[in-house]
Each structure stands twice: as C-alpha cells, then as structure tokens.
Amino acid sequence: MSNDTNVKFRLSNSELWGGLIGLAFGGFVIWSGLKLKLGTINDPGSGYVLFYTGILICVFAATIIVSAVTEGGPTLASRWENTRWSKPLLIIACLTLFSFALDTFGFLLSAIPLMVLLLRVIDPVRWSLTIPLSILAPLGMWWALKHLLGIQLPSGIFEIG
C-alpha cells in the first residue's frame, strides 16, 4: 500500500472510523444494558448479557482504534479507488426511494419504476428490453404470488394489485 493511501493520524483513516463507530455502538449497548437492569450473577436480568457484550464491543473497537493510530490504515477514499462507486450509490438511492414508495403506492406502482431505474443504472440495458422486463417481471411475480401462493403484496392507497 502506498504512503498516500496508508495514513496514521489523519481523520481520513478508514480503520479509525470503523473503530469509532464500533465504540459508539458499544457505548450505546452498555447504556441499554444498564437501563434494562443487570440483575445479579445468581439471577441475571434482561440487560446482563447486553451490558457485558457492550463492554466486549468497546474493547474490540478500542483495539481497532489503537491499531489504526499506531499501524495506520487505508484512507476512506482509497477504499473506493478504481471502482465505479457511483453505481452502488445510485442503487442505494433507488432502493431508498422504493422503500418510501412501497407502503404508499403499493408493490406494482413502486416495483415497476424501480426495475426501470435499476436496468438503466447498472450498465444500461436498451429501452426495448428495459420496458417489457420492468413491467413483466414484477407483474409476473405479483400474479404468481397472488394466484398460486395466495400471498397479497402491498396494494397502496390506489389499491392496485
């Protein structure tokens, strides 16, 4: 790894960030465990295992942070070097939009645009294939689930599907 991508004390060290997120999560788990009551060693309470697991999380996260500071680690940018990082980002955006639309508009009205977007985002498929595939795949699955397996997919406010 080159010096540009392997840094020690800089904030861009990805190992440092991973450890810090772990530490914050561990702190939250310890707090949740305490809130739920630890009980005693004879009769452990609901928070007993959570509390001690939280401590372990903090210990491992601290180990990662120490190693990031002393040994260094790749920068956040280098993790996405020479990759088409915009592709997963676009898919995540599509999925987020879909998750907002699913309950309101129902499966069919949200899955068809999702398929159009996905087919065009990941190495664009030609429109003559995108359109039929985007309509037929969700429609076919909706039909099979409803009529063959008796599973009702969300129909949304327009009650389509």
């Binding site: 609901s46 491992f60 993790r79």
Partner: protein, 502 residues
Amino acid sequence: METLLNVAHGFGVALLPVNLLYCFIGVFIGTLVGVLPGIGPISAMSLLLPVTLSGTPESGIIMMAGIYYGSMYGGSTTSILVNIPGEAASVVTCIDGHEMAKQGRAGPALGISAFGSFIAGTFALIALMLVAPKLASVAIAFGPAEYFSLMVLGLVVLTFLTQGSMAKALLMACIGVVLGLVGLDSITAMPRLTFGRVELIDGIGLVPVVMGLFGIAEVLLNTEQAIKRDVISTRITHLLPTKADWKASAGPVSRGTILGFFLGILPGGGAVVASFASYALEKRLSKTPERFGKGAIEGVAGPESANNAAAGGAFIPLMTLGIPPNVVMALLLGAFVIHGLQPGPLLITQNPGLFWGIVASMYIGNLMLLVLNLPMIGMWVQLLKLPYNILFPLIILFTIIGVYCSSNNVFDVYVMIAFGVIGYFMRKLGYEPAPLVLAFVLGPMLENNLRKSLILSQGDLMTFVQRPISAACLALAVVLLIGPLLPALRKKRDMVALDEGA
C-alpha cells in the same frame, strides 16, 4: 441392523413424490446459484426460507439441504469454465480447474469434480448415518454450561477463520449477539432495544438480515466493477475421466473426503476451509508440486471432494446438538424453527422420519446432481452467458419479494435494505458479515444457556470449567483467541483465513 431399518424408513420418506420434487427443486436451485457468481447458497436459502412454509417440514428442509450441497457441485462449473468462483468453496478449484479448461481438458475437470463430489457426498452421508445417532445419545447429557461453551467455541473458530483482523471479526460477532437479543427477553418478557416499534417485539427477522447482508450487499459490491467473463467457448467433451485421471485422483478424492468431513463437523469450519486445506495437503504430498497451478487434476479432485464432504459433515452438529456450525446451517436451523421443530439430541428419536428422510434425500439428491452436472452441463454453460445488468435488478426484485413473503410485513423490506447498505459499507471497510450472522442466530441461545447455567449454579462461574466438555471448549476458544498474538500461529491463520460470505 437398526441403522438399516432406519435408512429404509428414511428412503420411504424421501421417495415420496412430493419430497422427490422438493429435492429436485433444491438441487436444481443449488446448482443454479452455484453456477452464477455473485449469488451463493446463503442468499438462495434465505430467499426460499418462506417457501418451506407451504409444505411439510420434511419437504422444506429437504429442499434447503439440496440448495446447500447442490451449490457445492455448481460452484465448480463456473470456477473451471470462467475462472470466477461460483461460490466461496470453489475458489481454489479455479487455480487448476481453469488451467485444465484452457488446455482443452474442461471435460475431465468437470467430470472428476462431479464424480469426486458424488463419492465424497456419499461417504459423508454414510458417516452422518453412523455418527449422528451416537453423538446424539451423548449430547442428551449436555447441560446449559456445555451448550454455552460450545457456542462460544463455534463463534471463536469462525472469527479465527475469517479473513482480515480478528478484532474486527470478534466485533462483528458481538454486534450479531446484540442484534439477536432485540425483542422480548425470553425469561422476563421485557422488550429490549425495540425503540417502541411493535414490529421489533418478536426480534429482527433472520431473512431480512441475511438477504440484506449477503444478497443486496453482494449486488452493490458486484456493480462496482465491470464483470468480465471469459467463458470457455470450445465444445466440452470427454466428461468421463480417463484411467490415468482416475489413478491420479483416487488419493486426492479419498483424502479430501475424510479431511472435509471432519473439518465440516467442527463448529465454525465448513466447506471453504475444507477445500483450501485439501489443496494445501495435496500440494504438499505431491511428488511434483510444481504442476499445481498449471492444470493438475489433483488440484480439482481433492478440494471438490473436500467441500462436498464438509457440506455433509456440517449437518452433524446441527442435527445432534442443535448448534449450527456455519451460516448456512444457521439458515437451516431457521427452517426447522419455522416448522416448530428444534434440532438437537432428541430430534432423531422424536422425529426419526424427518432425520432419516433428510439423510436419504441427500443421497438421492447426490444422484440427481450427477445427472444435472454431467449430461446437462451445456445448459449451465449457456446460463453463464446471462448478462449481469439484467440479472442484478432481478435479484434485487426477488430479494424484496422473498423478504416480504417471509413475514407479510413491509417493515422487513426496510430492514433488509438497511442491512444491505450496512453490509456494503462493512465489506468495504473490511468487516466480514459471516460472524455477525452466526452470532445473530446463536445470540438468544447463548444468552439463554448462560443465564440458565448461572441460575442453576447459583452464580458460580466455576460451573463452566468444572464440567469437562465445557472446560475443553472454553480452553480451545482461549487458545484460538490468544493464538493470533503468536507470530507462527498468525501466519497459519492468514493462510487459512477465508471469506465465508461469498
């Protein structure tokens, strides 16, 4: 004699038309996901977990098991023909398998891979039949302390074998335990980490977590690179290995089978470790190790036998102790639980039809796989030409529907998308999801057994070291935890470290 009667009973169950159909669907889907790089048995099994609800427990579990060992067969096809592993256990097959294909020997490579897999699968089943009932009778005496220590050992072994930093793997395992504890406390019925959401009262579902971490995250990772495939285009002939091929492969197949079976039984171990270990063993034993990497048939026969034997061996801890040794078996445990069954020492005596039926179906499945993977090889080659820009959107659609169907709940779709994004960033930062998923499944059992042990022993922690099996498991776990600090063991760990998630 009793075993033979049980086997006959098992075949009676497995040969029912409906079970034959489920077995075929399982091995077919298994081969399919094995052939397609980017989708592994974990994604396929979690996608089909809800489908198992529609039939009897036998049918559902026969299908799920079929997907697992079917993927071991299918994975080799892609490794040999495209030089991309269809699934993680076939990574090592790429090395010599693809070299053989480039030299015009794709047929014998595919042939020995299928026959080796069949021989190993058959051996593993016979061993499973003999070992499982014996181990189950011993396991009846296990108390909560033994179960707790065994689960700790399983998690530690998996973190030891996970690629990259062990601290990261352990962190993932701890997070998995916490996620597994979301929902009502099984002893006090107090809601934990539910944030006032009714949907979380029953805990986070296994299907959305697995589909997110392995399905969606895998697609996100794969789209980062333009996938180039160099499919061997020449006609595949001479699938039956020659006498010389058999002579060269007999030893590797036998050794791979035995090694794979025992590595499969170990908690945290599995098909991936087995295939790597077998390759290393064959290279070390070979009189001409320089041929390895240049198309040595031993480099295909050994690992492919080992991964199939390990797939069979992995059923032992699940069926006899109720402890899944790897993520795939954790999903199978999910299938048992969906049907209200608890695998463990009493499963064989209380549900002999189920246990022996599954075992017999695996034999039938192995025969089906031989037919699917040899005469029908052309079909799988055609499938390898399916463009990824069409396949990935379809996978996303399947995962959304699969997750929704598992609970009829839109909330689970949100959970899956969230875990997909988390899984993607985890993988980018070098955190493997396998320890998280296994700990997620074991978490509630681990907590339950720990609390039971402490209550029974009146808070005496010595209970874990006074019981020999528990003490042995904990001692081994400690060795593995401290081990990586020693340079020699760290080097060994780096050599066998694996990416279970693929």
